[in-house]
Symmetry: C2
Subunit: 231 residues, 2 copies
DNA sequence: AGGCATTCGTGCACGCGTTCACAAAGTCCG
DNA sequence: CGGACTTTGTGAACGCGTGCACGAATGCCT
């Protein structure tokens, strides 16, 4: 907390890569690696070294020329820039197939996103316990969001109910939504939505598969998994 | 009308949007809508109308000026361009929490991606049945891939086993991989990998949440809200 | 201390994707 | 049948992200 925050805008593409760097750096730290070069990090992240340097330069000039970056310090800086210095409790709407898998997945809590609650509209689901979290009725959403200071909501309802879920979330005060339903959500200005649509991912793969066959066995673009363009 | 395929390269950003258009158009067709304008489609997809027109123009000139696009015909064309005229069986590696949710999810089969098999390395998982699919041992992977002509593999193993899973998939002949493990996979040239990393998505949301607070309540998200402020 | 090897930070050019703007092409209606 | 209106298709400008190339800074070795 001593240093002034740079506060400049970071390109979205960079923001999307910082979590990847962070994960790798934490792994390296666990393996007692103290320092890493942009080349080394680039290799592990599967990106260009210049890109790594440019990305990290948005955080400030935290590298040492001729040496590289101090892993522990970089972890701290990225954490800070991403707002991971404290936990972000999330609430999951929809305790079905997927909602249960998410709630039962320990990886979120570990990474600073504890499940503050799981809600469902189906009375037969309410009351059951998933991984230590009791499923509550969706009418309790406001209370959960307010008492637990939840900013992030996860939509795991059927497509037909996704807009309703999003409406309830924003009305309760949630300002970021991660949407798993294959639906384009309409939300008020200022609300940040990211979607995870597995069918879309598969269809993108299908496009390149089909193209591979039609055009006749030629290498596809780099084995890069571009993403972003969330809108 | 020559049915000859244009075969020009479609920008990746467009390829990523075509599935969204497709889903919306299918919905519209189900509601007996016969024709749609770029404006209408743009609204439903949450994008710019010019973008819709440019995206669709990569398929060919299939619109009618003054009217719009014929929904059914557009559905057919997008399906064709994405390679969705036939099914793409997928094999899931890892029958844990997530793998089971995926296998049990009917949405994939509906959209042309039937689950050709689920494999796991844990003998206690092998033999159990998920949504009508019996979990088989990972040693059967080659056989499944070959007999069912699988091109797409899904990695749903723990992070530590993800690279091994990817190696086995590529060795078996799979050329596209959808990876759920928070790991950067190394694959041979020509293999297409897409990743779905929920922790990354949450951390991206965290960044904007934190920024929202630090800078003091101003709109973020789709609109620019330019905050120059460098140095 | 000086020279050498290494690696960062970044200016710059390039390419891709987005958006605007408008002519072309078609419909609709009186 | 002609003119007004609608909507497509696309050229062009713009902005952003990527990757190269290189100066600057630092450590290490002799
Ligand atoms: N399961 C998967 O692997 C998978 C994969 C890709 C996408 N998805 C998508 O994720 C979403 C959830 O999938 P699922 O398999 O868990 O479905 P599901 O039907 O198993 O679960 C949906 C849950 O949402 C609840 N619900 C319905 N309306 C609600 C409302 N208005 N408010 C709160 N809760 C409500 C239902 O009671 C149910 O418990 C779907 O949109 C699906 O398309 C799932
Ligand atoms: N569950 C979720 O909601 C969720 C969310 C985000 C990310 N993930 C990621 O998805 C992956 C799977 O998560 P999960 O919760 O299903 O884990 P899990 O531990 O429940 O299941 C993993 C399965 O993979 C099997 N496995 C292990 N090594 C294998 C190998 N070499 N070959 C084949 N199978 C092997 C295990 O036997 C187990 O059945 C993890 O990487 C996790 O980080 C899961």
């Amino acid at each position: 907390m001593p240093v002034e925050r740079p506060r400049r805008r970071i390109p979205e593409a960079t923001v999307a890569r910082l979590p990847v760097y962070l994960r790798i750096l934490i792994e390296q730290a666990n393996e007692e690696v103290e320092s890493i070069s942009s080349d080394g990090l680039a290799e592990l992240a599967g990106v260009n070294a210049a890109k790594v340097r440019k990305d990290l330069s948005y955080l400030g000039s935290y590298g040492t020329r001729g040496v590289g970056y101090e892993v522990a310090f970089l972890v701290y800086q990225i954490r800070r820039e991403l707002g991971l210095t404290h936990d972000w409790p999330v609430v999951i709407v929809g305790a079905g197939n997927l909602g249960q898998a998410l709630a039962g997945y320990g990886g979120f809590g570990q990474r600073g996103f504890p499940v503050a609650g799981v809600v469902d509209i189906d009375p037969s689901k309410v009351g059951s316990v998933i991984a230590g979290v009791r499923v509550r009725h969706i009418d309790d959403l406001d209370q959960i969001v307010q008492t637990r200071h939840v900013n992030i909501g996860v939509v795991a309802t059927p497509p037909s109910a996704a807009q309703d879920a999003a409406d309830r979330l924003t009305r309760a005060g949630v300002t970021s939504i991660l949407n798993f339903a294959p639906v384009v959500l309409a939300v008020p200005n200022g609300i940040n939505v990211r979607k995870v649509d597995l069918a879309v991912e598969l269809q993108i793969l299908s496009y390149y598969e089909q193209r591979r066959m039609g055009v006749g066995l030629q290498a596809i673009g780099s084995s890069d998994s571009g993403r972003g363009a969330s809108a």
